[in-house]
Structures are given as C-alpha cells and as structure tokens.
Symmetry: C2
Subunit: 282 residues, 2 copies
C-alpha cells in the first residue's frame, strides 16, 4: 500500500482517467479483460496501475481512499476488479471510480446454471490450483529450454509438438508460451540451408513427422529481423531469406506438415493457431 | 470448423454442461475470465472447448449449430464470448447456450466514460498491437534464456531484475513468465553452497544489489522437488536444503534484498509479488 502512495500515479490525470486493476489475488484476470476492453480505444493514453493481493477490508479502504483522492482532482478513474471476497468487493464498489465488477457481474448466473455456490475463495485461477496441471506446466518450461533450437534431440519422442522453421521466424517465444501457459511439451528445431538439399524432413525429425508444425515468414520482414542480429551478413540478406522461406514452405507441403505464415502474428496468435490446428488443447 | 465436428466434444454431457470459449481473435481473454469464474466451482468437472478466430458470420452460424445440437441432447452449454464484431456477436447470442458476452456487457459504459467509440476491430489485445512493446517482450524472452541459471554474466547491467535463489526454488519459470508476459529483462542466478562462506552477495551481483530479488522455499518441499531430479543425493537431502535455505534467507536480510517464500505460490503469484515489490510494472 505504501508503494501506491509513493508512486506518481495519475500525474497527467488532468486529461485522461487512470485505470486501476484491483484483485484479491494476482490481478492477471482483471488486467487481461480490462486491457482487452481498453484496446478498443487505441487513441487513449491511459495510465494503468495494478494493485494485487488486496486481502483485507482495511487494504480495500486504503485503495478506495487513493482512488477517491484522484477522482476529486481529475477525471473519474476506471476500475476493473476481480475481487472475490464479498466484504472487499463491497468496499471497493463504494469508491468514486467507475467500477467494473468482473466477478460479481457474472457469478450469480453461473451459480444458477451450475446449481452450485461459488466457493468465495480468491486466488483459485492463478494460484497453484490443480497441482498436476501446474507441475506439468513447470516441467514443460524446462523441457522447452532444454529442447530450444534443436539443442537436444534427447527425449524428442516425449514432445507433443515440434515447431520447425528457418532461424528467426518465432519458434522460441512460441514454444515458451505454449509450455508456460498450456503445459505443452514443445521442442523446436531450426531448418538450415543444408536441410534443403532434399525435401525430406531433417533426419532427427523423421520418426516424428506428425508432431511437426512449420512456420514461415515474409522475406523482407525476416531479413529485417536478421539484420538486427547480424547486420550485412549473407544470413540476413533478402536473397538468403527468400531462398530459405521458399524451401521451407516446399518442405512442409511435401511432408504434409501444417504451417502458418507468422510474419504479422503475435506469439499468442501463433500459439492459438497451433493449438487449434494440432488439436493440442489440454 | 471441421475440427470441431470430428471432435468428441461433450461426450459426457449427460451430467455436466460443456463450456465454450468463443472469440474472433485468440480466445485468450475469454479463457482467462471464464476459467477464473469457473475456478469458483472446483467440484465441477467441465469439458472446455476454445474456438478462436471466428471471423465470419458463416463460421459463427456453424458454431451456433454445434452448440444447439449439444443443447438439444444434454445440459445447456455455457458460452464465454469476447467476440468484438457486431454481426458475429449477434449470431452467437442467438444460440441456445447460456451466453456471457464479456465484450458487450462492458463496452457501452466504457465508451461513455472515455467519450469515444470502440474501434470494433478484433484482435487488438493479443495481436502484435504496440510494436515496440511486443518487440521488447520477445527480446526479453531471448535475454531470459541467455541469462538463465547464471549462464551468462554478460549484459547483467541491462537486467531490470535478477532473481536469486538456491536451486529449484522457481527462478527459471518466474523469469520466463516475467519476460514473456511483461517484457521484463530478467536474469536469474543460482546460489550455491560456496556462496555462503560469507554473507556478501556473490561477486558478479555486487554492482547490481538493488536489482536483486530473492526466493526461498520450505525445506521439505524443496527436498521433494530435488529428489525428483537427483534421487538420494546430498543435493536433495533435507539437511542440505535446510542449510541452503537458511543461509539464503540470511544473505537476503544482510544485503537488504527483498524476498518471498515461494513454496506454496504459483509462478503467476511470485511474478505479481515481484512486480509489486520491485515497482517493475511497465
């Protein structure tokens, strides 16, 4: 709480409201839905402040006091709350900010639909939760690091997914995302020039062709990204990028490896596509 | 869409409703809020199906047909939707499922508060979005891999955060999470027995004491985790774990390094705590 008061939240609140993400747990859900809604207003430069772990009524009152001070001297703050505790929600709802109760809005209907009462326990979504599932995510992160960029071919048979692509098409961050968020055992394997002597998959991948998913990109985009790593190299040249991408795509087609052009996709979009196409959702 | 029909969604829907996460983008926000709400009903075993990238009215109609078939032969499906497009939302809302319109519920109030109209463009939240921010996240993932487990001491001055802890307290997945989700340049550094000869920070960290955050754990828990890696080793013994954890905590205190006991915390909870305590939110 002291952190909040020391901070310069809302310095420029003369023009734009400050956005608060409030939670009795991590605040991740409040940030996710709140930012999704705010992304619909790209012109607005909004200061954002996450206050997680509001677990007592006293803490809630301090947060409200801060918000109310801000409301007194500038535009009305916007609040996205996923607080679960009844007393804490009641206190937060009394603030002078515009209060979006992301938990309370829907929970009643859900109780009716499921014929059960909400547990009222905060921290169930991003806590340890299901221990088996949690451990599988942590094991997947280790696996992803160990099998990044073809580093280890050991235990490739354990992989649920092998992402293949020429260098700098997005393999590594996608693998990490799938491991961390979904617990997918994902390896990744770089395609290099020698791999294109024939259109067969690289030898270590042959037994696992059905686990492979390919990425390609746009030559100009790839060349830009490679320039950052090795300026003025053959590796970064447009000719080389074009050559590798064309051959990679041909290899995917020849071996029925599903693939996507990742040039204008985020790691989240690539991951969602891979999960859908490979039917990998856990 | 074909994938959906081939799939055995809702096989056991005699007893429990199937939950759908629908989106014209990745579906991440629908999953996040939906799962947060559902985590309040831990007794329910619900089958869950994400259908991302519903970008045409025809696709929306196919999804509705699938849901309606299910509604005809079992409990009413539950739908969490973050679809943005007006026409697509209108079609999805006509299904016989219980429809939670996570976008439409709040967007009107937000338009009023901000005095602006929603752009109506899907995919703004988990797409490439702000290119600078996106590139900084991807660069942070690379940095995290390069600086995992003290592997590289190069460019430690670029780190915004250095997580320090004895082996297996959760440094690596926390670093990856902070890099991938928040674009934090985070290194991590293992504390080993020799580091405890004095209570000073290890030499490479001395110039960066203010960037350090420590983790400890519970001896029994740590011993269990280490047993999985190296059964019956001194490394995994309760004596050794107790020794390392006690000394690590003493080192943190002696050097004013903030720290947290991660034994019963998820990587999301550790990350939210680190962000809050180190004032690192971007």
């Amino acid at each position: 709480m002291e952190d909040l008061q020391r901070n310069t939240v809302g310095e420029d609140h003369a023009s734009n409201p400050t956005v608060f993400f409030l939670s009795d747990s991590t605040g991740i859900t409040a940030e996710t839905l709140g930012n999704t809604l705010l992304s619909q207003f790209p012109g607005q430069r909004l200061e954002r402040k996450t206050i997680p772990f509001i677990t007592t009524v006293e803490q809630a009152r301090e947060v409200v006091a801060t918000i109310d001070r801000m409301a007194g001297s500038g535009p009305r703050p916007i609040i996205f709350s996923t607080a679960v505790g009844h007393d804490i929600r009641a206190v937060l709802a009394q603030s002078r900010g515009l209060f979006f109760d992301l938990f309370g809005t829907h929970i009643g209907q859900l109780e009716t639909a499921l014929g059960a009462s909400a547990s009222g326990q905060p921290g169930q979504a991003h806590g340890l939760g299901d221990a088996v599932r949690y451990q599988s995510r942590m094991a997947a992160v280790e696996y992803a690091i160990e099998h990044d960029d073809g580093q280890s071919l050991r235990a490739l048979e354990r992989a649920e997914l092998i992402l293949i692509a020429p260098s700098r098409c997005g393999k590594t961050p996608t693998t990490m995302y799938l491991a961390l968020q979904h617990g997918i055992l994902a390896a990744n394997f770089p395609l290099v020039e020698e791999d294109f002597d024939t259109m067969a998959l690289p030898k270590p991948l042959l037994p696992f062709a059905r686990k492979c998913f390919g990425l390609i990109s746009q030559p100009v985009r790839l060349s830009q990204i490679r320039q950052e790593r090795r300026p003025n190299s053959n590796y970064a040249s447009l000719t080389q990028c074009t050559y590798e991408l064309r051959n990679a795509e041909e290899m995917y087609r020849a071996n029925n490896v599903p693939y996507v052009n990742s040039a204008s996709m985020s790691v989240e979009e690539i991951s969602a596509t891979v999960l859908q196409r490979m039917q990998l959702h856990h």
